[in-house]
């Protein structure tokens, strides 16, 4: 900020006709680059580059990272920034072979990283050009390129210096393509093959044989078995292995493994339901350096499993989300000689006061604890947790319905280092909030569906927790404008706030929130009292706003949209279903060049003509959620044209839903549970 102000003053000075000796001329380019590194806000950099020609040149040479919105202007942008080494094209809805040709002709050997996830329209020809001209490429992200086939994989294999490769959801690539990559990219250190359903034992096995430098390997949901696992575990430098949802791996095959991987630090075996303590103990025999173990949605956590993991002397973090847990199992984990820093037991069935208490009393150094949906625990557990784990940084305890309101006071009293607290759907009241407000380091606070809290408690939070960045007040109906104003004035770093269905919220709240210049996400769904006036304040104040949800804000009309179009040039995502916006508002939104996602359902004022005009004008759209009835009324050619531009249409046929009373809604919610 300081720098920005300096530049601003310099800019002013420039207007004075006195081209005096500038101090900046004495500084070497490296020093200016270092100064520029401190400018985090892109707007500041822009103002710096506008100061003078030399600053413009310096800024051009300084930029390393480029994340363009459109691929059309890429050739000019790349000419301006010749030293770009990291190119992120994930925002471009359409990246074709021609785009990649432009990149390869402009960037050449300077390019080291390119992200092409979410881009669909390129093929192996463009990739081939890219890989051949930009031979220094170290990172390529091709996630979600479902159309890419083995031929494209073979062209990637030409990138001999490649170290990181993402191929998430590249479903058409088979063992053959992976085999080419394994042979070609010998320096690979990071490889993600998540959801590459065409890849099996042979491809993964060849990777393990040929790429000896692999450190991180994601094999989630691959149809692999023990065959390749044996080879993978022989990798000498493997640190991070993800085997989520590998249903082909079972106890029998794991028991046959003699050697574990000595260098392994993180192992994720989520949803490997066929693996029990037998397989785990054989897998973890030699993996002494394991630090993080994720066994979510796996087999039952009982005494045998806990004992089988006892040998892991370096373990710091264990995640058992969604497992069936026994009391003896938790006690046995408590008796491990290691002191864990992170335990996750969210959605575990069978977590009781007894088990959890004995677990937390032993692991006193715990910094992160997740007991989401452990519905059986009571104030006893909370007392033990707060008593022994005083250094907790993150506590997530959504939907622990049996914990009484008084217990939350303990959290505030004893856990002073909390940065992240999730007490969604709990009995917490104003007393609890007042106590929690003493946790001055709090960055994220989730108070959704806490029907007992009011302005009184929340004002304390707003006054004391100045570091808050994220506040979730979803359906906490008891709060009003005063608490939001307190938060807005107390927490200037606020980036995200959710005030959905807080029905007493009015424009006053939005006006106070408009002072939070860093706010990028505002969810005010169902705040029926807010009007275009409040929205205009937000649009003017929060320049960073990128996500806005004003669904069911019936008072919002075209004027609100026009002010958004005028001021919120960073808006990427908007949902204005059930509002009073018409064609005019929609067409005006099209002037926001960043806009990518629009959701409009049950909008009476919209016509097919208005939609056509808006969509054609809005070039960057990638996702449009529309009422299914428009499917027939929109011209088919237009839909095809938009799809070719990279836009996906999601047709919804939802019946109009009347709003439920919050209390009634919660009862309804509990019945479903």
């Amino acid at each position: 900020m300081k720098n920005a102000s300096i530049f601003a003053t310099m800019k002013k000075q420039k207007s004075i006709p006195e081209p005096t000796f500038s101090g900046f001329d004495l500084l070497s380019e490296e020093i200016v680059f270092t100064l520029l590194d401190f400018l985090e806000n892109p707007v500041d950099k822009k103002s710096f580059s506008l100061v003078c020609r030399s600053f413009y040149d310096i800024e051009s040479r300084h930029r390393k990272l480029l994340k363009p919105l459109r691929s059309e202007l890429l050739s000019k942008v790349l000419l301006r920034y010749p030293h770009v080494s990291n190119l992120d094209l994930s925002l471009c809805p359409r990246v074709t072979d021609a785009t990649l040709n432009v990149v390869s002709s402009c960037c050449k050997e300077t390019l080291r990283s390119i992200i092409l996830s979410r881009s669909k329209f390129f093929g192996h020809v463009g990739l081939s050009n890219l890989v051949v001209s930009c031979w220094n490429l170290v990172e390529i992200d091709l996630s979600n390129a479902t159309e890419l086939k083995d031929l494209a994989a073979a062209t990637i294999a030409e990138a001999k210096n490649l170290e990181k490769l993402w191929l998430v959801r590249c479903k058409s690539i088979t063992d053959i393509g992976i085999g080419c990559i394994a042979v070609g990219c010998r320096k690979l250190k990071f490889l993600s093959l998540k959801w590459c359903l065409g890849v099996g034992d042979l491809g993964v096995g060849l990777i393990a044989v040929k790429c000896q430098d692999i450190r991180s390997l994601d094999l989630s949901f691959l149809p692999i078995t023990n065959k390749c696992l044996t080879q993978v575990l022989e990798l000498k430098r493997l640190e991070d292995l993800v085997l989520e949802g590998c249903f082909g791996i079972d106890d029998d095959s794991l028991a046959a493994l003699n050697q574990g991987c000595k260098s392994l630090e993180t192992l994720d075996m989520t949803s490997c339901q066929k693996v029990s303590h037998v397989g785990l103990s054989s897998l973890t025999t030699a993996t002494a350096s394991l630090r993080q173990l994720i066994l979510s949605y796996g087999s039952r956590v009982d005494l045998a499993l806990a004992d089988s993991l006892q040998k892991l002397s370096m373990l710091q973090s264990i995640k058992l989300d969604g497992c069936k847990v026994t009391c003896s199992g938790l006690k046995a984990i408590g008796n491990w000689c290691v002191s864990l820093s992170e335990i996750s037991l969210s959605k575990c069935l069978g977590v009781t006061d007894e088990g959890l208490s004995s677990l937390v009393t032993k692991h006193k150094d715990l910094r992160k604890l997740d007991i989401t949906c452990c519905r059986k625990i009571t104030s006893t557990s909370v007392a033990h947790i707060t008593n022994s784990c005083t250094s907790l940084v993150s506590l997530k305890m959504e939907s622990c319905a049996l914990i009484p309101a008084e217990a939350f006071v303990l959290i505030g009293q004893r856990c002073q280092f909390l940065e992240e607290l999730d007490v969604t759907d709990n009995e917490i009241n104003d007393e609890g909030l007042k106590s929690i407000s003493t946790c001055s380091r709090l960055r994220s606070l989730k108070l959704g569906i806490c029907l007992n809290i009011t302005d009184e408690g929340l004002i304390h939070i707003g006054m004391s927790c100045s570091k808050l960045k994220e506040v979730d007040l979803y359906r906490s109906d008891g709060i009003g404008d005063s608490s939001i104003s307190a938060i807005a004035s107390g927490c200037r770093d606020l980036e995200m706030i959710n005030i959905a269905y807080c029905k007493s919220i009015t424009d006053r709240s939005l006006m106070s929130l408009s002072k939070c210049s860093k706010l990028n996400t505002l969810e005010s769904r169902g705040c029926i009292l807010i009007t275009p006036v409040g929205l205009e304040a937000i649009a003017m104040g929060c320049k960073q706003l990128s996500k806005l949800d004003i669904k069911k804000c019936h008072n919002i009309d075209d004027t609100g949209m026009i002010s958004l179009a005028r001021f919120s040039q960073n808006l990427k995502q908007i949902n204005f279903s059930y509002t009073s916006v018409t064609d005019v508002g929609l067409v005006s939104l099209a002037s926001i060049s960043c806009l990518q996602s629009i959701t409009v359902l049950h909008q009476r004022g919209l016509t097919p003509r208005g939609l056509v005009a808006a969509f054609l004008a809005c070039g960057g759209l990638t996702k449009v959620k529309l009422q299914a009835s428009f499917r027939t009324s929109l011209p088919e050619l237009l839909v095809k044209h938009l799809e070719a531009r990279g836009c996906t249409f999601l047709w919804r046929d939802k019946v109009f839903q009347e709003e439920l009373d919050p209390k009634c809604w919660k009862l309804h919610f509990n019945e479903i549970e």
Binding site: G123, H124, V125, S128, K149, D150, L151, A154, A157, D175, I176, G177, G179, C180, V183, G184, L202, G203, G205, L206, V209, K210
Partner: protein, 498 residues
């Protein structure tokens, strides 16, 4: 014992080593080499299995034979005169035309004798069946004994011709065939003798020796892996014997057969005595009471891992194994697949197996090798440096296809180019082979790549670390072995040594 007879026995011992174990004479080796090998062979085989000492065999055979010779004074002179000569020429390694001429005239005489005897047998056949006269039987036995002795002498003399005929492949092969014939004839005579022996119980039975011999060549013993050296007997057939189309010959008309059973069926046409159950039975079944020795076979190719002189010698189990091994690894591949016109085989059965699958090999490596199974392709790629799976052309539009095709073509060209670059390296290696000779036995490097496994399937079984450790030093071998031609200098090298 008569000194002549002792010499005679020695000659037989020699002839035996000519016939069944390593035929050292035809091996084109230097004298010292020959001696060393002979000695070694005797140590390993003869001393290891004392019961099967050929000397003993032939001394056992000698007993009845000498008595026969004694009774037939007419032929004793001839024996006394000729056999020492044959013996001398057998030891003589340098080519001596006069000695050879002598041998040849001796052979001529013997062949005439043989013809006479066979005619005698043919003439008596009818009578022998009708009359059970004891004198007739005795006479017949004498004739067959004579027949046997003459044939044995023929073999030894013919064998003594061989060392003087360097590099004469055709003669050697003829000799090999002749050896086959004679051994066969011995067996047939043996059968005849055996039939007679059944009739007269008190006569000393000379057939045991021959039965043993039969077992040696036909019986493929029991299954068993990793036999400790010395626990089995090593036999080595000659190259010509291995490659001979027929191994069983009719003693009467000379027709050749691949199988002994076929020969026995054929023999029925030559007279009723061949129709008896004993004559038609499998020869080796009769000697079930004898202790069965485990027999393994050695490849005659020096330097081959299947050769008994190899450091890591791995014996072959049966004669069939020997034949297939020799053809696959040491012979030209003359049978080309009629479908793909690229794959070549030296064993017809391999060709037929391939033709069944040819065209269905959809897994292709960048080196041009095709595989019918994906895992075999991946095993191949895991083993070789720089080989990648080749992408089958995708239906990505005509232009794309064209490009991809040219791309893969480029790739293959590059690889070919690499191979060419490797050529000098290979010749260096060849030179090394020539220098080191049999002392270091460089073929041990090759054996996993080109010799033992004609199909790529076997490659997978080799432990990876071997190649990982010595990646650089192996790279040119590995790339060089991508093409299947068996004539890349490996076979020439041992010959160059001589």
């Amino acid at each position: 014992m008569d000194p002549d007879e002792r010499l005679c026995a020695e000659t037989w011992a020699k002839s035996s080593s000519d016939r069944e174990p390593l035929n050292t004479d035809s091996n084109n080796r230097s004298i010292t080499d020959f001696d060393r090998q002979q000695q070694k062979w005797e140590e390993s085989s003869f001393n290891g299995c004392g019961a099967r000492d050929p000397d003993q065999q032939f001394s056992g055979f000698e007993g009845p034979f000498t008595s026969d010779v004694d009774s037939q004074r007419k032929k004793k002179d001839l024996h006394g005169k000729q056999i020492p000569e044959a013996h001398e020429s057998g030891n003589m390694q340098n080519w001596d035309p006069s000695a050879m001429l002598n041998n040849l005239s001796f052979l001529e005489k013997k062949i005439h004798q043989l013809q006479d005897l066979v005619q005698l047998v043919v003439g008596r056949r009818g009578q022998a069946m009708n009359q059970a006269d004891e004198i007739l039987v005795q006479q017949q036995q004498l004739i067959t004994a004579d027949l046997t002795s003459i044939i044995v002498q023929l073999i030894s003399t013919a064998g003594s011709l061989l060392p003087s005929l360097k590099n004469s492949e055709s003669l050697a092969s003829q000799l090999g065939q002749f050896g086959g014939i004679t051994s066969q004839s011995v067996r047939v005579t043996d059968n005849v003798v055996h039939n007679n022996a059944n009739k007269m119980e008190d006569h000393p039975d000379p057939t045991g020796v021959f039965e043993d011999h039969d077992m040696k060549s036909d019986d493929d013993a029991e299954e068993g892996e990793n036999l400790p050296p010395g626990s089995y007997e090593i036999l080595q057939l000659e190259k010509e014997e291995i490659l001979a189309p027929h191994t069983h010959f009719c003693t009467i008309c000379g027709k050749g057969f691949k199988r002994d059973a076929n020969l026995r069926m054929h023999m029925r046409g030559h007279g009723d005595e061949y129709k008896t159950p004993a004559a038609l039975a499998k020869p080796h079944k009769e000697s079930s009471s004898d202790p069965i020795f485990i027999k393994r076979y050695s490849c005659p190719y020096v330097g081959c891992k299947r050769n008994k002189d190899h450091k890591k010698f791995q014996p072959l189990k049966t004669i069939l194994c020997v034949k297939n091994h020799y053809k696959r690894t040491h012979c030209d591949k003359n049978y080309t697949c009629s479908r793909c016109h690229t794959k070549k085989f030296s064993v017809i059965a391999d060709l037929k197996t391939h033709e069944k699958h040819c065209g269905r090999d959809k897994w292709l490596c960048s080196c041009g090798t095709t595989f019918s199974r994906k895992d075999k392709l991946f095993g191949h790629i895991a083993l070789f440096q720089g080989h990648t799976p080749a992408i089958p052309h995708e239906g990505a539009g005509p232009s794309d296809q064209g490009q991809s095709r040219s791309e893969t073509a480029n790739k293959i060209e590059q690889l070919d180019f690499n191979y060419k670059l490797d050529e000098p390296g290979r010749s260096v290696c060849q030179g090394l082979m020539e220098l080191e000779g049999s002392g270091e036995d460089p073929s041990s490097y090759f054996s996993p790549l080109g010799f033992d496994t004609s199909s790529m399937a076997g490659f997978q079984e080799f432990p990876r670390p071997l190649f990982e450790d010595t990646e650089s030093s192996f790279s040119f071998f590995l790339s060089g072995s991508g093409d299947y031609s068996p004539k890349n200098g490996r076979y020439a090298a041992p010959n160059d040594l001589e």
